[in-house]
């Protein structure tokens, strides 16, 4: 591990450097001045971002440059069978722990050229905008929501075109496709049994349509705000991140939420919380018996935490529901039962190399 890799020993707060020791080029400085952004705050922001992405601080100038170039990278954001939770989450991004105030991504960092929930244009004017921005190559196509497999099913039509047609056209000249949220990444809720609309993930649909493009899955229901924007900015400044077998960036999805959870010790040593609001719940003991899926869920919730480091599900007392994993709505747990309050089968933890003497002690029926 290189010496300038930021420490992850403190889980509670993102370490945000002042950025004072970082130099950057004249053009970037000039842009910041034009944008009316304080250099100090901006560098602090970039340092926070680098820390989040587990990048050496030496990339800060490059991030700064990417974020202030005279032509901002074009991002086209399209929504299909979704709930708008992913967009809401993304809107909550960009205010790191140190009080940095890059107040809006959309004016300074990227050019968000199509996003139906926020854009001024509507109807024909919106469609014209979509055609115009996707006529030029090189944009990042962000997609949320699953897409019904059949174009003629009528289950998704927008601007008089099917989901399949809208996606295929928009993907043509994209440099990168980012599937944001578990619906786009893995099919998510619409695909939950019995998948009434034959909903597909973006990856599956791309395979069906023989679309060969770089794809990153940013799963989660929704994903953590800074993870969405972090992945986009990582790509713009450093290129493709390292991905796991489910095409998720390992920097955010490499560990389970259990591995960084402050309640982990009691998973191994006991005692466990047995009910919401019992004495062990108040003490912050492990929520395994209340169904926590943390040991089998890959995400950064317990490390990055939600909404600027405020909390994460287990810290607020509810187990992880496993929302960044494929088909988490239909996950089978102990006794092959589905349910967010059913403990995971003990083998699930074993397969990840986790000890689980506590659950064995409590439950004689698990005998592996």
């Amino acid at each position: 591990m290189s010496t300038d890799t930021p420490s992850r020993s403190d889980h509670s707060q993102m370490q945000v450097g002042s950025g004072d020791d970082v130099t950057f080029d004249e053009a970037t400085a000039e842009r910041l001045l034009q944008l009316g952004i304080s250099r100090r705050r901006f560098m602090s922001y970039c340092a926070g971002l680098a820390s989040l992405l587990a990048l050496p601080q030496s990339v800060v100038p490059r991030l700064a440059q990417a974020a202030t170039s005279t032509t901002l990278p074009s991002v086209v954001y399209m929504s299909f069978q979704e709930c708008t939770g992913c967009l809401e989450s993304m809107v909550n991004s960009f205010a790191f722990g140190g009080g940095t105030t890059i107040d809006n991504l959309i004016l300074n960092m990227i050019s968000l050229d199509y996003q139906e929930t926020l854009m001024a244009a509507a109807g024909d004017q919106a469609e014209a905008q979509l055609l115009s921005v996707t006529a030029k190559s090189g944009y990042v196509l962000v997609v949320d929501g699953s897409i019904p497999a059949r174009w003629d099913s009528g289950y998704f039509i927008s601007g008089e075109r099917s989901g399949v047609a809208r996606f295929r056209e928009a993907a043509k000249k994209a440099a990168l496709i980012v599937a944001v949220g578990t619906c786009a990444s893995f099919g998510g809720l619409p695909k939950a049994d019995p998948n009434p609309t034959d909903a597909r993930s973006i990856g599956d649909l791309m395979a069906n349509l023989r679309i060969s493009k770089p794809l990153i899955n940013v799963s989660g229901c929704p994903p953590i705000p800074e993870v969405i924007t972090g992945v986009i900015l990582y790509y713009l400044s450093k290129g493709m991140p390292k991905l796991d077998s489910l095409r998720r960036p390992t920097v955010f999805y490499g560990d389970t939420v259990h591995e960084d959870c402050y309640r982990k010790e009691s998973f191994e040593e006991g005692p466990l919380a047995r009910a919401f609001d019992d004495a062990n719940s108040r003490k912050g003991k492990c929520l395994y018996m209340l169904g926590c899926k943390g040991p089998v869920t890959h995400n950064a919730c317990s490390r990055v935490r939600w909404n600027q480091g405020t909390s994460f599900p287990m810290m607020s007392g509810h187990g992880c529901i496993g929302c960044s994993e494929p088909d988490f709505w239909d996950r089978l747990n102990r006794n092959n039962e589905k349910g967010f309050y059913i403990p995971i089968a003990s083998g699930s933890g074993h397969s990840r190399g986790l000890p689980c003497n506590t659950c064995h002690d409590d439950n004689g029926d698990d005998d592996d």
């Binding site: 509670s12 929930t117 004017q125 905008q129 927008s158 019995p194 919401f276 108040r282 939600w306 405020t310």
Partner: protein, 648 residues
Amino acid sequence: MAATPNVIIDPVTRIEGHLRIQAHAVPDGKGGGTITDPGLSASTMVRGLEKILQGRDPRDAWAFTQRICGVCTVVHGLTSVRAVEHAIGIKVSKNADYIRNMMIGAQYVHDHVMHFYHLHALDWVDVVSAMKANPTSTAALARINNGTYKPNNGALPNAAYFQTVLSKLNNLVSRGQLGLFANGYWGHSAYKLSPEENLLLVSHYLEALAWAREVVKLHTVFGGKDPHPNLVVGGMPCTLSSNTGTVNDDKGGTSLNTAGLATIKTAVARMKAFVDQVYLPDVILVAKRYKEWADFGATAGNFLCYGEFPDPALVKREFTDGAIDYPAGYIFPRGVIWAHAPTTLAPFDEKKVTENVAHAWYLGSDTGEHPSVGETELYYDGPLPDQGRNPDGTSKYMLDENARYSWIKSPRYDGQPMEVGPLAHILTMHARGGTANAQPTDKLVRGYVQKFWINPTAQGGLGLTFTQLNSTLGRIFCRVLETKIIADQIAGRAAGTAAYAGWYQLYYDNRAGAYWNPNTFTRLQQPTLWPVQVGFGFTEAPRGALGHWVKLNRVSGLIDNYQCVVASQWNAGPRDLDGAPGPYEEALRGHVLANLKQPLEVLRTIHSFDPCIGCAVHIVDPDGEPLVQVDVNHGVGSTTRVSGMSCA
């Protein structure tokens, strides 16, 4: 057959979900025209969530229904939790209700502010005009309009502050990347604000983004994340931390430690401040410039409210397990307002709610049945997509008001289309305020309506009539008014006849009390103790009346049937069998458009409802019939078999 639509908006943007609007305007010969008949409102996306819920653990239902909408992220989850609690006869603790009230309340404040600035403002605010503003004059305007709002490092915004906002806008233009502002109807003759007023509102658009990130932290402390915070049947999953200090591996604890409680308190204060200092005065400013919009956008005049914000001050019984029971005491009263008596609160009877699929892409009852009975089947027989345009540029994809044309069913109350949402909330409070049962908040509402809406302009009011509340402008006004009521209800009111400690303080004083009813999970396994056959859960969501009906299997304990009838379904639904249009459709009648190719006026009225279309679309498969038996009729129709429901 009505005349061919010549006003089409598809996609309608700055909403949640996927919506198409069609209307016919009688041309005026100068490019504009007048819409003389109701329009057509069509949802064009379906997911089938209710079908997915069958056979599930009822404890899980909240997480599924929460994903109906990530904007209304708390209310669907809580409605489901309440429906299951009703089905199994579990009451929750006082703390759980305080926290739920705060979470729903925070959702209102967050949603309504973001609706006004990020979804609706650009219908009234011309961003290109803002670029001509004089920063010094804008600073002067800010001192008058928002004299206590100090976003400029704790000071009032000065000329330099607005120059920075201008620079950001100029930057977009100079590099030719307008981003989200590209291709708006800029320069349209219906925009009326001065450049300085436009710039002031653009600056608040930007500041509201930063503000929103802060206030959602209330959800994060209680629910672990936002959007989609965690909830639980039987109370709240969060609990007071044993460790008041930093939560860590050694000391453990929960988010409800000293820091978490302070975060909530700060979020509550920020909500109230932004509503008082920015949102309310900005709405009044816009209303003064656009007063004629009190004459457009009326619906039929029938309003429905299920009731919301149970008042913990009205506790009737406290149970040994910490649970409590209320009399029917809500800040927003349960009731109905009929067009012929707009100041009278009529009683609400849940049994009079029906759903009708005459013009929706389902097979089932055209005449309307209660949500707990009936039969529906996905059946798309609309036009094919992806067919391009005719040579003259007109659309090949046209929906027909005489056929099926939407994935939204038409809910009716006592056979009538009802408007739900802020206007319904304010009118029901106003009506109760005139009775012996008037609550302090009702009296506040009556006072605000008088002061801001009815008082003559010489006294600082808008000089409009009570009847004109049923309008595009009235909807916007009622939305800010209820936001003010709720923000104060959370934060408390210091003095006067309506003095109130506020939910935050009441919770804080009681924070060591119970959060979860420990009988909940065992009660789920004791069907003999379940008091009803079908659980009815409801909330008043930011967009209006939201109801879930759940039937549990008394052998397996799993969900047999699940049905949602939601706010935007009431407002955005299609015509019924009698041809009576839904509220969006009715509201478009009478609109005068300056330019049929830039239907800004139509957008203003549709946006005034705050469409949330993801919420509005559902199907039911009570018997758990096999999925998607595709019946391809000449390549157009496909059918998902869904059959009979037999509820109690």
